[in-house]
Amino acid sequence: MKQFVKIILAIAIMALFAFNADAQNSKKKQANIAEVTFVSSIDCAGCVKKVEGNIPYEKGVKDLKVNLDDQTIYIKYDATKTDKEKLAAAIVKLGYTAEEKVIEEAKK
């Protein structure tokens, strides 16, 4: 039982370090970070896997969320290294469409 608690503690500490490192990384480079959401033709689990297996390794991509229900691909990227057009082309190259989703904000 003691061993059980020890191992759980060790894992918790490791996880904490991982979070920290992640948080610090993101703080450093906040300045050039941009976001874009594409509406795409992805509509199968395999398509999601394909996007998740390729887009993260495009230059400048910092985060990716693929939503099958809404058929959207959200990308956080370093604007000094890439742009929306390049990202769209990367998605199209995988065989899916990529139209930028324009979020209409309420006009004040």
Binding site: D22, G46, V92
Partner: protein, 763 residues
Amino acid sequence: MKKALLSAIFILFCTTILAQDFKGSVIYRRSDGKTEPLPFAQIYIIEKAKLIETDENGHFTINLEERTTMVATYVGYTKDTLIVDPGVPSGEFYLMGENEVDEAVVTSRQLTNTLSRIKPVRTEVITAAGLCKMACCNLAESFENSASVTVGYSDAITGARQIKLLGLAGTYTQLLDENRPVMRGLASPFGLTYVPGQWLESIQIAKGPSSVINGLEAITGQINMEHRKPTDEVPFFLQLFGSSHAMAEANVASSLQLNEKWSTVILAHASSVLKSIDHNDDGFRDEPQATQFNLSNRWLYYDPSGFQMRFGIRALADDRLGGQMGFERDHDPLTSEFWGSRIKNKGLNGYLKLGIPLNEENSHNIAIVADYNYHTLGSSYGLKTYDGTQKSIFLNLIYQNQLNDHHRISFGLSGQDDDFREDVEDHRTYIFTPVPSPDPITYKIPLHRRERSVGVYGEYNYTLDDKVTFVGSLRGDYNNIHGFLFAPRVTLKYSFTDDIIFRLLGGRGFRTANILADNIGIFSTGRIINVEEIRGDQRNLLEDAWTYGGNITFYLPFGYENNTYISFDYFRNDFLKQVIVDQELDIVQAVLYNLDGKSYTNTYQVDFSIDPIERFNIVTTFRYTDAKVTLRGQGLVERPLTSRFKAVFNAQYATAMNKWTFDFTAQLNGKTKLPNFMAGQDKVIEKDGEYFSPIYPMFFAQITRKFRGIDVYIGGENLGNYRQRNAILNADKPFSEEFNASAIWGPLSGIKIYAGLRLTIWK
């Protein structure tokens, strides 16, 4: 807008140069075969890395100077590719609605083990991501994260894995391969190790007897496996794996889309334990030295009219060398001075599935499933040999009609033909015999069973939005051995709100016991296998049980993206007829007899899942099982070798885009009642004249690093190095009656470190 303008200018530009113009049209082909043009579809020109669009009539024109590859896409449609040489005047792209091709797959998040919100039956889904949490060399190991399913060894010799669902042996769970019954009969004892984890896309564990469409054999539940699909855009996948226990494994998968209609997937597996290991110095191999080859080829033909055909073949060969370290591959077990075991399995399977739509919307259709299975087993355990051949044919004809949004009916006719030929021979001479005798005794058990059954069934499905789902089904089978068998099954799902889902289920199941294959562990004992009571009349082989239960799941507004849920299960199972294997009735025999009295299990389970922050998921589950069985001479007692509880804690953290994934699983396994001959063994606890295994923990951890196209992982199993020492009783007297390697309650091998590599090449 800019892009559209550019495209328009581009098209205009192209149309002015007529000499080498290629005129293309993008056309939508509806499921009824009719076509219409697709305006504003996107065409990607690979060589120029350029994107153009069709005009309002679905046409486009492009100037070609070299051989050009063009991909036409449109949201919600399949894509089509054309490779065109300069000088070709025109071409057409045909797109289809994507939903018409593949069954609806509902998954988007990086969930791994999760409860399905949609299914009417309480269903736990282990996705591809969940399968990658651990080494998952094979199907048996895929369940380590699940408390619903407990995995153990049948014995300490053969490496045969056993699962338990609702506290009962895996033989009471129907295993399905894409909704086709598999791993029946002779293929069942080692079957779980014959499904490489890397071949699978997901596993669904449904508790309770849900559907009657695939026969009556689901008693405690159904486990359905989904393989990698022919339509996956992965022409090449390779996995390599190695462990500190000298196990090496390789898997290859290749999904190829030959054209719009035909696609195929080839799956190959080879694995081998390269060295014999005896950590506990009892003279016996801890695990058999097994070498397995497994090959499968699956095809899909999809016609735009909605007609689809799936077929495939699979071949398997497995050779296991177990027993004492001194026993070598070229030894004859019947003459060797060492106790050795040699098990050879060969299997061949072929199947065909047809889906025929009877109307345009495919709400009205016929499905045909045909399956042939051939399996041979040649095995020896010391001086006992067990050989068998099974030939099985399964046919199923299903008619389905979705009358409207609320009502769906299915009718069907199915047949099963099983031909079993099994022989057991025991070549030992006995000191003790059932009837004391001065002469050496050699006995034989020839078993031959030809079982045929034909069944008719009907299922009615009522759906009221997302609120209510009711499924009622009836099935009647005529069986040449057991006569008429009748089973009703009912399932109800009710959503009080979007976040509170209640499920109820009940039904009856039947199966014919395969007394030897179901109890492969008894061969790894010195006991005389006494099947005399059962053998006389094959009707004694029938097992009949009712299972009912319920589940309530609450989705809670906590955690990241409100992904939290807590779920409570209760299931009850009652046997009316059961075949019992009793090693406690007699000290030199394993006696098989029919249940005379009660046999039941009550299973309670709580599941809790939360994402405290993004990409950090914690799943905890706790199961408690109260299993009782009536044993001759003992009355109603706790079922031996069934753990009382299991608690699982799993934590997974991934960095952005899962480039790094950290997994940790801790299990706490509850005490297990042991047969009385385990008295005095290492760690065994005695309480009021009964014997129990201790409560013990197991730890698993894995780190995965993803690169483009390559995943590398390293992990460890049983990190606490907990073992059931001396799992083989009287290992020093292997040819005696007291020799016994079948009472397994804990891990047989200690800490195991492994590393693997997954290489994916995308289309």
